[in-house]
Symmetry: C2
Subunit: 511 residues, 2 copies
């Protein structure tokens, strides 16, 4: 049986849009001679829809749409949807609607769905929704009991570094071990920072990959599980995967929320440079505006680098010096601050003036303000609330600074986009004379390692032992939680991203 | 048997602090002749600790502390703690440690605990952790099977309007129905906006309340379940309960995070007036600073009202006019905004200048900036990100504007605090000439009703039918989700508070 794997990009809550997409791909599948079209997990309600899965009227609207699809589609279809209180796999064929499997739930999903046990087979195939290796093994055993030849594994897995390789290896090994054909049908596209990565594939019972879909793009592929068919899977460099995830994360946030213009503060540093180039690659240079906002202490090199970056990428660069307004604020506060020494309040003030200017531009021209803080800063709290943290989407908020340079190098290997000078200088916030990040933080490779350890400690796998330096950084991360609570959304890149961790703000366990 | 109900205020993650509190109250209980001391749900790790419940080292530290307590305490104790992967009731007696009950879980708790079935009895009493009426009935049946005379119901229930009355009635009715003594041991104190409300009580099998603890304060009460003992429960006006919750919510956030000074923008309006008075009642007038920040369009009445408010309450009032800095910003942007008409960008600019000034004061003097937006504004998005939304704690973010006036009236009935003139004028953001809230929003009583309906729709109980106006407001609420994601924490007051709802930002279901 020839099956079509429809790797589609849906919108959370937009039943009409998602349903139209399912019709379109089902028609394409039929046209190409497929006997069954398979769609990803939750493709009808859209994935990562949060508490929408609690709304009775929404759930009912989904089930109603399934009835309509069942009547209208002229090819048997397997799709993921909320159904009867479950995250379900539904089989539709000539008006018949049959739930084939319910997802085995973990973590927060238990808030939304019941997780009753169900796995059936139809026409020699069985189904499940991906929920981890252990659960997949359970489904494979059940499929063997049901004497199914093929297991359809629906998913809507978000990207993180390494996930594609892990899943491909795991599923391929299982196909061989259980001697069963497996199709992995993943969603694609971003929802509030979760980038479903696509890369669906079909592996036959000999462990040969027969068909493989694009990463980070919609795709339609076909498989009939004939033995000895084999496609060569090309390895995608991790830096490219990360870069593509960043582009799609931003792009889908913008498109699905109706933004067409984009703005960011360009400082001459690496964070804003990479963010600008990502935006250019996502929307075209003509839709991106950079604003350079020098103060009295901004160096010539910062200006040169900002100008060079925008010139290299054809990005419009505006300049708004902040010195006058900074002086005006200092004047407003002079009475109140009299006799108190200059400190971080004045540093933050400069950063916040930039935030206000950028938001004014954003409001005036309906341009999405892109925040360019990286994960190392955001974890350690080395950033200013309502200043450099301000914006609608934090493009690289989950990208560790030490890895950022590798991503920039990869992007430059495709075409020169980020000036060498930007990448070679020492990182600085330029909020006081001769300030360097290294005055306040350990070297980024060390800091990033400790942040990883912090995030991993919530995996709950093992007990951790901490050095004194690690304890200090752990405390710093806990103390900065209140800032992270007020950050815009941004693209998840790591398995345990700080945005995934629900740390209390009031927290006596600062280690 | 005389039992002591120890209604204590703990800190999430602060095992040492919580353990010391348990020792203190256990000693007091023994001194007063109690034979058993009972503590609230999760009193050792602290409640609402989020993903800390996933950290192996933290969980292990809790269990280690239980061993220490078991050796040191010289009175049998029942307490709530994480234990063996469960939200558990632990019995401690002369070195013996025995789990007596595991919580029946719902919603997000399932992320943290296993929820295995356990309910034992010791010395004629049985235990459970409160998880809803249905689950309580289950525990009562189990207690009857175990022939327990008394059920100890541990809890850490957060305040919302009506919860105290609901729970008292429910539990009292159950005691009579099942002819069993019930002690309801609730935590007290605020954690990141959840205000555990206390009001623990003991009801005997005749349905008479024997002992009752204070609302919103630590307390130690005793019960021996002798029939025909009865205390009169005084009804607390709802406006007082709400006001006290607001005071404790703010106070505990500040105390547990180390703040001693407080600042807010005082506009002359009702929101900032109420917020200022709450802060005064929580910390004393000498620790609260109001800043009045007039623009060219600020009315004389606004100034008079701001001055009167601060004078009436002995709150220090600073004045920082924003006109010059507003002019400076407009000048900075004049080139870029040339030929584009004046709109909401300029309104937001004024609000953000105020945000920057307040944050500068907050940074300079380590004063907690209190945000004074109400629930009606925050729901509808009638507020400025990084402007009036800026701050460390959003004191009244869950208080509907139409109810706010009632709370002000109640507070004024205790002692005059909020000027009549503040309460009598029409609400305005004063960001353009002659602006009124009613230009952009329906009357607040109607708006608040629709917001309630929106929040209730996530309860998932029934399908909702919407009028055209309701659809518009529902859409407005969905569209403002991105703002709410960047808000500071604030006190929960309603059963379904918008902060409890995980609405997607990218959301095709805007109804």
């Amino acid at each position: 049986m020839k099956i079509a794997i429809a790797q589609i990009n849906t919108i959370a809550g937009d039943i009409k849009f998602n349903s139209a997409k399912i019709r379109e791909y089902a028609a394409l599948a039929k046209k190409n001679g497929a006997e069954l079209a398979v769609f990803p997990e939750l493709s009808l309600p859209g994935g990562f829809a949060g508490d929408l899965y609690l709304r009775k009227d929404f759930l009912k609207a989904c089930e109603k749409e399934i009835s309509v699809l069942a009547k209208e589609l002229d090819i048997p279809v397997v799709l993921g949807s909320s159904f009867g209180g479950e995250n379900a796999v539904i089989y539709i064929d000539k008006g018949r609607i049959e739930p084939l499997s319910f997802k085995i739930l973990f973590g927060r999903e238990k808030k939304y769905f019941n997780g009753n046990d169900l796995q059936m087979s139809v026409k020699g195939f069985s189904c499940c929704i991906y929920s981890g290796a252990k659960e997949l093994e359970q489904s494979l055993k059940k499929a063997a009991e049901l004497q199914a030849e093929t297991l359809l594994v629906l998913a809507n897995e978000p990207f993180y570094i390494g996930v594609n390789e892990e899943l491909t290896e795991e599923i391929t090994a299982y196909a061989e071990k259980f001697s069963i054909n497996i199709a992995f049908i993943n969603g694609v596209g971003a929802q509030d920072g979760f980038v479903s990565f696509g890369s669906s594939f079909a592996v036959n019972k000999a462990g040969f990959i027969e068909a493989s879909a694009k990463q980070f793009e919609e795709d339609l592929i076909f498989a009939d599980f004939v033995l000895n068919t084999k496609v060569q899977i090309e390895e995608i460099p991790m830096e490219k995967q990360v870069y593509d995830a960043l582009v799609l994360g931003l792009k889908d946030y913008a498109v699905k929320n109706g933004f067409k213009k984009f703005v960011l503060g360009v400082s001459g540093g690496a964070d804003s440079a990479l963010t600008a180039v990502i935006a250019k690659d996502a929307f075209g240079a003509e839709n991106v505006t950079g604003i350079f906002m020098p103060s009295d202490i901004t160096s010539k090199r910062s200006r040169d680098d900002a100008e060079l970056l925008c010139k290299m990428n054809n990005i419009k660069l505006l300049e708004i010096p902040i010195s006058k307004t900074f002086k005006s604020f200092k004047n407003d506060l002079s009475e109140i601050f009299k006799g108190v020494k200059i400190d971080v309040a004045e540093e933050n003030l400069q950063s916040r003036i930039r935030g206000v200017l950028l938001m004014a531009y954003s409001n005036k021209f309906n341009a999405l303000l892109m925040t360019s803080g990286n994960r190392s800063e955001i974890a350690s709290g080395y950033c200013t609330l309502y200043g450099d943290c301000a914006g609608g989407y934090a493009v690289i908020c989950d990208l560790p600074k030490s890895y950022l340079y590798k991503v920039c190098d990869w992007r430059n290997s495709v075409s020169k986009a980020i000036p060498k000078s930007v990448l070679e200088k020492e990182p600085t916030a330029e909020l006081r004379e001769n300030q360097k990040d290294s005055d306040s933080l350990p070297p980024y490779d060390i800091l990033d390692g400790i942040i990883d350890k912090f995030a991993d400690s919530f995996e709950g796998k093992e007990e951790i032992v901490l050095s004194e330096e690690e304890k200090q950084i752990f405390k710093m991360i806990s103390l900065a939680e209140y800032k992270r609570r007020q950050l815009p959304l941004g693209t998840k890149l790591l398995k345990y991203s700080l945005k995934d961790i629900q740390l209390p703000v009031t927290n006596g366990y600062k280690q």
